[in-house]
């Protein structure tokens, strides 16, 4: 697959949308959504002011989120960008290992006690395996555990999860950005899968163009 830079519309690239195609015309009817989905991608993965979160941390989280969605096309993009960022082979292998051990299916979780408790659905609270923790380091370990909750069981969110991130060195502003990375990817992945399906393309295979 091609590895688009941040100046190439990443959703178009991952869906395989070419100029003049029917899907390009459909996206052109919602021009702000198209432009600002791309602007969000740039803000989160090629920010003008990266603050305390490194490019490698952003891309490692991106590869993990896309991998947890089993979204091959999108995961390939973030894994490729992580490799380009100079991430070590050990870090890339740790991201892959975390993805493999953390996969499940959602959404699950608990509601506040009351009439909705009958809809409570059990599932795992992911803790990064001991073999991977030292490679990821404390910041990414805490991030991955939080990310797994956001991806698969967001209704289990609680202040203690944010405290764990603060304890691992994520500031309040860092947590906002981390949350946006996971939440935005939850959108981007679904747009890519949805539009590929609409175009009659398998949603999880590599882009061949």
């Amino acid at each position: 697959m091609t590895v688009p830079g941040t100046d190439i519309d990443v959703i178009d690239a991952l869906v395989g949308i070419t100029p003049g195609s029917p899907l390009s015309a459909i996206r052109a009817r919602r021009p702000d959504a198209r432009a600002h989905a791309q602007a969000t991608y740039r803000a989160l993965f090629a920010p003008e002011a990266p603050g305390n979160i490194t490019a490698q941390e952003r891309l490692a989280v991106g590869a993990f989120v896309a991998g947890l969605h089993d979204a091959t096309v999108v995961a390939g993009h973030y894994a490729a960008r992580l490799a380009q960022s100079g991430a070590s082979a050990a870090l890339r292998e740790a991201v892959d290992a975390a993805t493999a051990e953390a996969r499940t299916s959602g959404p699950y979780g608990r509601y506040p006690a009351g009439p909705l408790s009958r809809e409570d659905t059990a599932g795992v609270s992911y803790r990064v395996g001991t073999a991977i923790r030292s490679t990821l380091g404390p910041r990414l370990t805490a991030a991955f555990e939080h990310v797994h909750m956001l991806v698969f069981h967001p209704r289990d969110a609680a202040p203690a999860a944010l405290q764990a991130l603060l304890d691992a060195g994520w500031s309040t502003t860092d947590i906002v950005t981390l949350s946006q990375i996971v939440a935005f990817l939850s959108f981007q992945i679904r747009v890519v899968i949805g539009l590929r399906t609409l175009a009659g393309r398998p949603p999880t295979r590599e882009v061949t163009t």
């Binding site: 899907l23 459909i26 996206r27 009817r29 919602r30 021009p31 702000d32 959504a33 600002h36 989905a37 602007a39 969000t40 803000a43 989160l44 920010p47 003008e48 947890l68 969605h69 089993d70 979204a71 299916s105 959602g106 959404p107 506040p112 006690a113 009351g114 009439p115 909705l116 809809e119 956001l150 698969f152 967001p154 209704r155 969110a157 202040p159 203690a160 999860a161 944010l162 405290q163 603060l166 060195g169 500031s171 309040t172 502003t173 906002v176 950005t177 946006q180 939440a183 935005f184 939850s186 959108f187 992945i189 679904r190 747009v191 899968i193 949805g194 539009l195 399906t197 609409l198 949603p203």
Partner: protein, 201 residues
């Protein structure tokens, strides 16, 4: 490290999905209004949002917030054909119901009911859940939103076919996809950075 998790004031947590107006209480410190730069203010897009602790918290990453908001507005408010506004809101409400975001579900169920005038159907979605029978066209929109919201996604050609049989053209189907996808973004922020509160009596 002086950043801390906030303890919300005494409040009543809602325990059921509702179309009533809810409050939202942050678990992390929003920017103080007097500390906000011109860039922070511009990232709100609507100046009135300075009153919202949710948007002042997200304004800590102003580029991400502004792009998020402009994406949101085009998906839901662009009047150029495609899916009627009521059904974009239905997709948002169904996604929020399935993920379990009481706050987002309250706002978008309210909008869906307002624009469709089908209060009873919207309330049935909230009360019964995403398996509620709302008539074939709405059932198709809810089923597509839910399939796309599952992680991993289980959205497939059968969902597209069902939407087409319900009279949606490809632009309208793309609107369903974007509305459901966007609420997978919004739900995760709303659920994880604070909590809903029932309004004080």
């Amino acid at each position: 490290m002086t950043d801390t998790v906030l303890v919300p004031p005494e409040h009543t947590a809602p325990t059921a999905f509702t179309r009533a107006q809810l409050d939202w209480l942050p678990w992390l410190e929003p920017l103080a209004v007097e500390a906000m730069t011109a860039r922070h203010m511009a990232s709100l897009v609507d100046a009135a949002r300075v009153k919202s602790p949710y948007f002042r918290l997200l304004a800590r990453d102003p580029d991400a917030l502004e792009a998020r908001t402009r994406t949101d507005k085009d998906i839901f408010y662009n009047p150029d054909a495609g899916l009627p506004r009521a059904e974009r809101e239905l997709a948002a409400a169904a996604t929020s119901r399935f993920n379990g975001c009481l706050y987002c579900a309250s706002v978008h169920a309210r909008h869906a009911a307002t624009y469709s005038k089908r209060e009873a159907d919207v309330q049935r979605l909230l009360d019964t859940g995403v398996s509620a029978d709302l008539g074939e066209r709405w059932n198709a929109i809810v089923a597509a939103s839910v399939a796309l919201t599952a992680t991993p996604c289980v959205f497939g050609p059968e969902h597209v076919d069902r939407l087409r049989r319900s009279g949606l053209d490809d632009l309208a189907i793309a609107d369903v996809i974007h509305a459901a996808a966007f609420f997978n973004w919004a739900n995760r922020l709303m659920l994880s950075l604070g909590e809903p509160a029932a309004p004080a009596d």
